[in-house]
């Protein structure tokens, strides 16, 4: 086998790994929620009762705030979490394939009291819910 053929074969073997979406640097480094949403390709969203956020109203420690999200919107394929007052508002985005429920629970940091927005994507549209969380001790600096 030639060197080129070996290289081509190796590239082929590596392809499945590269099929993963790369970390969305522009969205995660955005300093405002509006910029983060723009970089996620979210131009508009509709408030929906089918997107549920379970989180404390008051978090004593902003370094560990549990947030549990369930989307009951049929065919939800992704969920994004935006913490409006954080230095970098986009906290996480999860893509779900068939076989995974559009559900996630994660602990996040809140630098200060903030509105937390969740956006669920289904059928090319975005559905949102939000919840104000008050923080007594911030979780970003120290």
């Amino acid at each position: 086998m030639t060197v080129q053929a070996v290289a081509a074969l190796a590239a082929g073997l590596l392809l499945p790994l590269r099929a993963l979406a790369a970390w969305n640097k522009e969205a995660f480094q955005a300093k405002t929620a509006a910029d983060a949403l723009k970089n996620l390709g979210i131009a508009s969203s509709a408030e929906s009762k089918d997107v549920l956020i379970e989180a404390p109203q008051i978090a004593e420690n902003g370094a560990v705030v549990p947030i549990e999200i369930t989307s009951n919107v049929p065919n939800t394929k992704s969920i994004a979490i935006v913490i409006e007052k954080n230095p970098f508002p986009l906290a996480a985005k999860f893509d779900f394939s068939e076989g995974a429920a559009p559900y996630v629970k994660v602990n996040v940091k809140l630098g200060e009291s903030s509105l937390v927005r969740v956006l669920a994507e289904a059928g090319g549209k975005f559905y949102s819910a939000s919840k104000e969380i008050k923080v007594t001790i911030g979780g970003c600096g120290g």
Partner: protein, 103 residues
């Protein structure tokens, strides 16, 4: 090398709750150490969940996820013995992965 993850799965009928703990500092780059120096930014960026080799959940996360992240996910159409793989990749290119069977 990264400390291994801890996974717990709970199978209920054909769906499974998965809880995973990742040991990671999740440094924001905003925190100062005892001597007043900035602790460099270092955080997990990508999390993947596969069942029997099929990618089911792909998470991109920021430094806003808490230190030693704990995630809960829910899988459907699974059965005891299915192979579950969870992996992460951080901002320094460090990786960790763990494999278990759903039970």
């Amino acid at each position: 090398m990264a400390e291994p993850m801890k996974i717990r799965t709970t199978l209920k009928g054909d769906s499974a709750d998965v809880r995973v703990l990742m040991v990671h500092p999740m440094e924001t780059g905003l925190r100062k150490d005892a001597s007043g120096g900035i602790v460099p930014i270092h955080f997990i960026q990508e999390v993947t969940v596969k069942v029997n080799g099929k990618l089911l959940i792909e998470g991109q996360i920021s430094q806003a996820v808490s230190r030693n992240p704990v995630f809960s996910f829910r899988l459907k159409g699974v059965k005891a013995g299915d192979k579950l793989e969870i992996a992460w990749l951080d901002s320094k290119g460090e990786r960790s992965q763990i494999e278990t069977v759903i039970a």
